[in-house]
Amino acid sequence: MVSITLACLFQVLMAHAQQTALDLDGRPVNPFTIAAGKVVVLVFLRQDCPVSSRYAPVIRRISAQYSREASFWLVYPDRSETPQSIRKYLGDYGYRLPALRDPDRALVQQARAEITPEAAVFDRNRQLVYHGRIDNWYLEFGRARPAPTTHELNNAIQAALTGKPLPQSSVKGVGCYISDLQ
C-alpha cells in the first residue's frame, strides 16, 4: 500500500515539473501522462547537429519496431528552433513522431540528457531506466563505424519492458552539448 502511494505522489510531482515542454502549437504537453501503460522514450535532437540528423532512419526504425509498447517523443531543447523549422525538419527526415520543444529544459533535466542525439527510456512506472547513446555507431566526430555493434537504446527498451536490469544505466555518446545552448 505504502509503495503505491509513493509512486502516485512521485507522478504528480513530475507532472507538475513537465508543464514547460510544449508541442509545436505551443501547448504544454506531459509525455508521461499520455499513453499510460507504455514505456516512454525521449529522443533529444538538434537541427544543427549532423550526428543527430544522421540517426533519423535509426530512430524511425526503432520507434516503428516498438510502436505498440513504447511512446516515442522527439525533444528539441534549443530555444532558437521554432515550431516551423522543426516541422520542416520532421518532414525532411520523414519523421511521423510527435515533437516537443523543451525551452526550459524540464525534460532535459528529468532525462539527465547532456548531448544530442541522446535517448532516455522511462519504464511504465516512469522511472528513468537509461539515458545516453542510441548505439555505438559513432566513435567520435567524423568517425563512425560501418554499422553499430552495440544497441543501447534497444536494450534499454527491452529492459524497461521486462524489468530486467541493465549493465549500465547511462552510456555517453557522441554529439552536441545541450549545455552550450542558450
Partner: protein, 612 residues
C-alpha cells in the same frame, strides 16, 4: 595493292590504374595567428577565440560550405563551445592527418598546442564574449566560383539521389568536355554538389572515353570506389585534381597547364555519406583556360604493393612495405597515400644517395574519410638513386572499429571499400635530364612497371604496363611477350587483347592480330578501338570489305572520328569505290582540316580519278 595507301594506327595502354588521384589544387587555408598567452585573466571570444576560429575553421564552417554549422559569430561558436574544445583537443578538427615533419606541407591545417589550450580555457570558463572592439573582421564569404567565372562550366547530366541511410556511397560522374580543339587548363574548380555530404572528390582524365561503357545508360554515371582509366598513347596522368572539404582551387604554375583534347571526358570520382534524409547530389566543374601550353611535364607515380595484402582476421599489425629507386632526378611536388578502412599507420620516406633519410609523409591515425592530397610547400629534390619506401600498417582485428567486417574475415586487395589497398601516389617533375635519352617520364614508367612485375609476377596490370612501355619504345617482340604474360592471367581481357592486336599490327603481322582483336570484341562488342584496329588488320590483309565494315562500326560509335573516316576512305579507294572514298576523305578533313593522311590520300585519289 596500291602502295600509296597508309592507315593510322592506334593502341590502348592502361597507365593510370586506380582512383583516388588528388590535386595540386588544394587549400590555401590562412594559418591562424599565433596566440600569445594573455596576461589578462579571462580568455574572451572577441580577442582570443575569434582569430583562431576565423583562421582555421570558418572557411568550411559557413553557409554553403562543408561544415555542418556556421562558425562566424560569437553566438554560433558558443552554441558548440564544448564540442569545439573536445574536437580540437582530440585533433579531429580541423581535419589534418599528417604528423608534423621537416619537409613542410602546403596549407597545413594544424592548430598549435597553445591555440588548443586557449580554446579549452575559454570553453571551461563560461565562453565569455569580451570587448567588441577586440573582434577581428569575419572571413570573406566563400560564395560561387573562388577563381572567378570559369571559362567553361560542366554540370553533371544527371544528379545522384543519395539514400538517407546505408554505408558510404562511391559514385562516378562522367563530364563530356565540349571543346573543339586542344585547350590548356590552368585551374580546375570542383563543386562537388553538396559539400556537406560529399567527403571527397577527384577528377580522372579519360582521354579515350573509356569509361562511358560503364554507364547503364548515357549520362547515368556509375558506381565504384576505384576506377581504371585507359589511355591511347603514352600520356601519363600529370595532375592530381582533388577536392576535399576546405579545398580552395589554386592556379597551376606557368608551364604546368593540363592538356585537354577534343573528346576528352572528365570522370569525377566521389565519396559521399548519407545524411539521414534523401539528398540530391549534382556536381559541377569549372575549367579555367590559358593560352600558354605546358612546357613542364610532371607525372604521377604510383607505388603499390597490393599483392602483399592478404591480411588474416584478428591480425592487428599487418605491415606492408615497398621500395622503388628513382632512375632519374625528380622534384617531388605532391603526395597522396591511399588505404581503406583497415589502414592504421601510414608512412613514406625517401633515402637519398648520400644516405640521408627524409619522411615524406607520416599519418599515425589513418582515416579514409579525411584522405587528401598533400602538396609540399617547396618542391623536394630527389636525385637519381633515391629510394622511396612506403610502410603501411593494417589492423584487421575487431578492435579496429572501422573494420567493415564484423567479425573480421581475411582481407585482400580490391576495389570495394571492404577490400584493402596499399597505394602511394607521387606527383613528380623530372629535372636535370638529358633530352637525348628520351622522355624521362618513360624511363620512370618503365622502371615502375619492372618493379611491379618483380613484386608480383601475377600482376596483370604490371605486365600490361610494361608491355605498353616496350611497345611505345618500338620493342615489339618484348611488348608481345609481356602482353602474352598479361593475357595468360586474364585471357578474355578486352583491353589487353586489343593492345596485343595493335602490337602485332605494328610488327607487320596482321594475320596474327585478327584473333586477339576478335577476342577483344567478343568481350566488349562496342569497343571502338578494337573495331578500328580490326579494320586496320583487315585492310593490311587486303580484306577491304571487312575492313570497311569495321570502320563503319567505329563511325557509328564515334561519328566525328577523323582517323576512321580517312581509313574508311582508303579501304573504299582500294575497292575502287572512288566517289564514296572521296566523300569520306572530305569528311575526315571537315573534322580535322590538318589531317595529313586524308589530305594526301584525297590528292592521290583526285590524281587517279583525273587519270581515268
Amino acid at each position: 595493292m596500291n602502295s600509296w595507301w597508309r592507315a593510322w594506327m592506334r593502341w590502348t595502354l592502361v597507365l593510370a590504374a586506380a582512383a583516388g588521384m588528388g590535386s595540386v589544387f588544394s587549400r590555401a587555408n590562412p594559418r591562424p595567428r599565433e596566440q600569445a598567452r594573455q596576461t589578462a585573466p579571462q580568455v574572451t571570444f572577441n580577442r582570443d577565440i575569434a582569430p583562431i576560429i576565423f583562421g582555421a575553421c570558418a572557411s568550411c564552417h559557413q553557409p554553403g560550405e562543408a561544415g555542418p554549422f556556421p562558425l562566424l559569430t560569437y553566438e554560433e561558436v558558443k552554441r558548440h563551445a564544448r564540442q569545439i574544445a573536445e574536437v580540437t583537443r582530440a585533433r579531429t578538427m580541423p581535419p589534418w592527418l599528417p604528423e608534423p615533419q621537416e619537409l613542410r606541407l602546403a596549407d597545413e591545417m594544424r592548430l598549435a598546442d597553445a591555440q588548443i589550450r586557449t580554446i579549452q580555457e575559454w570553453a571551461e570558463d563560461g565562453s565569455v564574449e569580451g570587448d567588441p572592439a577586440d573582434l577581428p573582421p569575419p572571413p570573406r564569404p566563400a560564395e560561387g566560383w573562388r577563381l572567378g567565372k570559369p571559362d567553361l562550366i560542366l554540370t553533371a547530366e544527371r544528379p545522384l539521389v543519395l539514400a538517407p541511410t546505408g554505408t558510404d556511397t562511391y559514385w562516378n560522374f562522367i563530364f563530356h568536355v565540349p571543346i573543339t580543339e586542344t585547350r590548356w587548363v590552368k585551374a580546375v574548380e570542383i563543386h562537388p554538389g553538396d559539400k556537406r555530404y560529399v567527403h571527397h572528390a577527384n577528377i580522372l582524365v579519360d582521354r579515350s572515353r573509356s569509361s562511358r561503357h560503364k554507364e547503364a545508360e548515357p549520362g547515368a554515371g556509375f558506381g565504384g570506389m576505384e576506377i581504371r582509366i585507359e589511355s591511347q598513347v603514352f600520356d601519363p596522368d600529370s595532375h592530381m585534381l582533388f577536392w576535399k572539404p576546405g579545398t580552395v582551387p589554386s592556379v597551376e604554375p606557368d608551364g604546368m597547364a593540363l592538356r585537354l583534347d577534343k573528346g576528352t571526358d572528365l570522370i569525377l570520382n566521389t565519396h559521399m555519406q548519407p545524411s539521414g534524409k534523401t539528398e540530391i547530389i549534382q556536381p559541377s566543374i569549372g575549367l579555367y583556360f590559358t593560352s600558354k601550353p605546358a612546357t613542364k611535364f610532371p607525372m604521377l607515380l604510383q607505388l603499390e604493393d597490393d599483392a602483399k595484402l592478404n591480411i588474416p582476421p584478428e591480425q592487428r599489425n599487418f605491415v606492408v612495405t615497398d621500395e622503388f629507386t628513382l632512375p632519374t632526378d625528380v622534384e617531388l611536388l605532391a603526395i597522396y597515400p591511399h588505404a581503406h578502412y583497415l589502414g592504421k599507420d601510414i608512412q613514406a620516406f625517401a633515402t637519398l644517395p648520400d644516405g640521408s633519410k627524409k619522411t615524406l609523409i607520416h599519418i599515425l591515425h589513418w582515416n579514409l574519410s579525411w584522405q587528401a592530397v598533400y602538396r609540399y610547400a617547396q618542391p623536394v629534390l630527389l636525385p637519381k638513386g633515391t629510394t622511396i619506401a612506403l610502410r603501411y600498417v593494417y589492423d584487421n582485428s575487431d578492435e579496429n572499429p572501422l573494420n567493415p567486417n564484423h567479425p573480421p574475415v581475411r582481407v585482400k586487395a580490391g576495389n570495394r571499400s571492404s577490400d584493402e589497398m596499399c597505394h602511394l601516389w607521387l606527383q613528380v617533375l623530372p629535372v636535370n635530364y638529358d633530352r637525348a635519352q628520351g622522355d624521362p617520364r618513360m624511363r620512370l614508367q618503365e622502371a615502375l612497371a619492372r618493379h611491379d612485375v618483380a613484386n608480383d609476377p601475377r600482376d596483370f596490370e604490371a605486365h600490361y604496363n610494361l608491355a605498353a612501355m616496350e611497345q611505345a619504345k618500338g620493342r615489339l617482340d618484348d611488348a608481345t611477350k609481356e602482353y602474352e604474360a598479361a593475357l595468360q592471367l586474364r585471357p578474355g581481357d578486352a583491353v589487353a587483347n586489343n593492345a596485343m592486336g595493335a602490337a602485332l599490327l605494328a610488327a607487320g603481322r596482321p594475320e596474327k592480330a585478327v584473333p586477339y582483336l576478335s577476342q577483344a570484341l567478343k568481350t566488349r562488342p562496342d569497343y571502338l578501338e578494337a573495331h578500328y584496329n580490326l579494320g586496320t588488320a583487315y585492310s593490311a590483309e587486303s580484306d577491304f570489305e571487312d575492313a570497311a565494315q569495321q570502320l563503319h562500326l567505329v563511325l557509328q560509335l564515334q561519328p566525328d572520328d577523323a582517323d576512321a573516316e580517312a581509313n574508311l576512305g582508303s579501304a573504299l579507294a582500294e575497292m575502287g569505290r572512288f566517289p564514296e572514298a572521296k566523300s569520306h576523305f572530305e569528311r575526315a578533313l571537315q573534322i580535322n582540316p590538318n589531317h595529313s593522311l586524308a589530305k594526301e590520300n584525297l590528292e592521290e585519289l583526285q590524281r587517279q580519278m583525273s587519270d581515268r
